[in-house]
């Protein structure tokens, strides 16, 4: 279950940040997922639900922003949207975009500042 470790890393970090801000409850977590990671969003959501149980993230919304893959030929600069290692010119392809897994934003409830 590939998605489980991703969900775990996501939740650990979101929890750390939310706690450092003194959050009482987290409403939403936004994550950027590159298409090259082949993460199944439904499985990621399911794992997220499991991992957030009994934390201040329980019941929060998981918003997944997908990043399309972009590979560029190191030789001629031709762009590709699908995974491959070679360009038709014989050059090698470099991944420019699409392999990221980034915790972007967290929406949370915090106590009003005491006067």
């Amino acid at each position: 279950m590939h998605e489980f470790s991703y969900a775990q890393a996501l939740v650990e970090n979101a929890l750390r940040i939310a706690e450092s801000k003194g959050a009482k409850k987290v409403n939403k977590v936004v994550v950027e997922v590159g298409s090259l990671l082949l993460i199944n969003p439904e499985q990621l959501r399911f794992c997220y639900e499991v991992v957030t149980k009994n934390t201040i993230l329980e019941g929060s919304e998981l918003e997944i922003e997908n990043t399309e893959a972009l590979l560029v030929c190191e030789n001629c600069g031709k762009e590709y949207r699908e995974l491959s290692s070679m360009c038709e010119c014989g050059g090698f392809l470099k991944v420019e975009r699409g392999d990221e897994f980034v915790l972007k934003r967290i929406v949370m409830e915090v106590e009003d500042a005491q006067n």
Partner: protein, 219 residues
């Protein structure tokens, strides 16, 4: 109570990348050739490690064996009298740089460290361990479409081994198709056709590995 939105921008794969770099530095400083052996369940990874240890008896070889639960692979390999460590990944389907990081200090004095990943062609792809060489092992009995069905792992491989060659005719696998699929995905790859039980391809693998070890330690 009020609601706030916090910009986080935490790269969740960064921690693995950082630890992988630390592992890589450790291997380089100690002159170790680290080899990440990935492949499907039952493709012959553990047997390859056993045969490699037997053949490279003039070098000091160590092994880390990753498995989901039991220590069967570890027990097989440690019988050969080399330094070996088991990693149980529990629910995880792959090794990561962190799991390996905990084990490598014990291998400071080895020349070649063979790291057997969990049997899986999907999940190990995104987790750099800090290795020098990535080996992907498949066998003809997994079906001759195994390469095209798991393209990503073949694009990151330095070496692809197609094992159990002698069984191809019995399971109706087209080895030429498998070869073509590998070459289409990765033209840089070192492709070895093998039948470990028959000893086919073993020599080529050993020579390749020895060559890599020598070239990395003579620079």
């Amino acid at each position: 109570m009020h609601r706030i939105e916090v910009e986080a921008e935490v790269d969740l794969l960064a921690e693995n990348k950082r630890l992988a770099e630390e592992n890589r530095k450790f291997f380089r400083e100690n002159g170790i050739l680290a080899v990440n052996i990935m492949g499907a369940i039952g493709s012959g990874k553990t047997l390859l490690i056993e045969k490699t240890i037997e053949r490279l008896n003039d070098l000091k070889v160590g092994a880390i064996l990753g498995d989901v639960v039991c220590k069967a692979d570890y027990e097989r390999v440690s019988k050969l009298g080399i330094k070996a460590e088991a990693i149980n990944t529990g629910k995880e389907c792959h090794l990561d740089a962190h799991l390996v990081h905990h084990k490598i200090r014990k291998f400071e004095d080895v020349d070649i460290l063979l790291i057997e990943n969990v049997g899986n062609l999907i999940c190990p792809v995104d987790f750099d361990l800090g290795e020098d060489l990535r080996v992907v092992m498949v066998s003809v009995t997994e079906g001759d479409d195994v390469v095209e069905k798991h393209p990503k792992i073949f694009t990151i491989a330095d070496v692809v081994i197609i094992n159990k060659l002698k069984l191809a005719e019995f399971v109706g696998a087209n080895v030429e198709k498998m070869k073509r699929d590998v070459e289409r995905l990765n033209s840089r790859v070192k492709l070895i056709l093998m039948d470990l039980k028959e000893g086919i391809g073993l020599e080529e693998w050993i020579e390749y590995l020895r060559g890599e070890y020598v070239s990395r330690n003579s620079g």
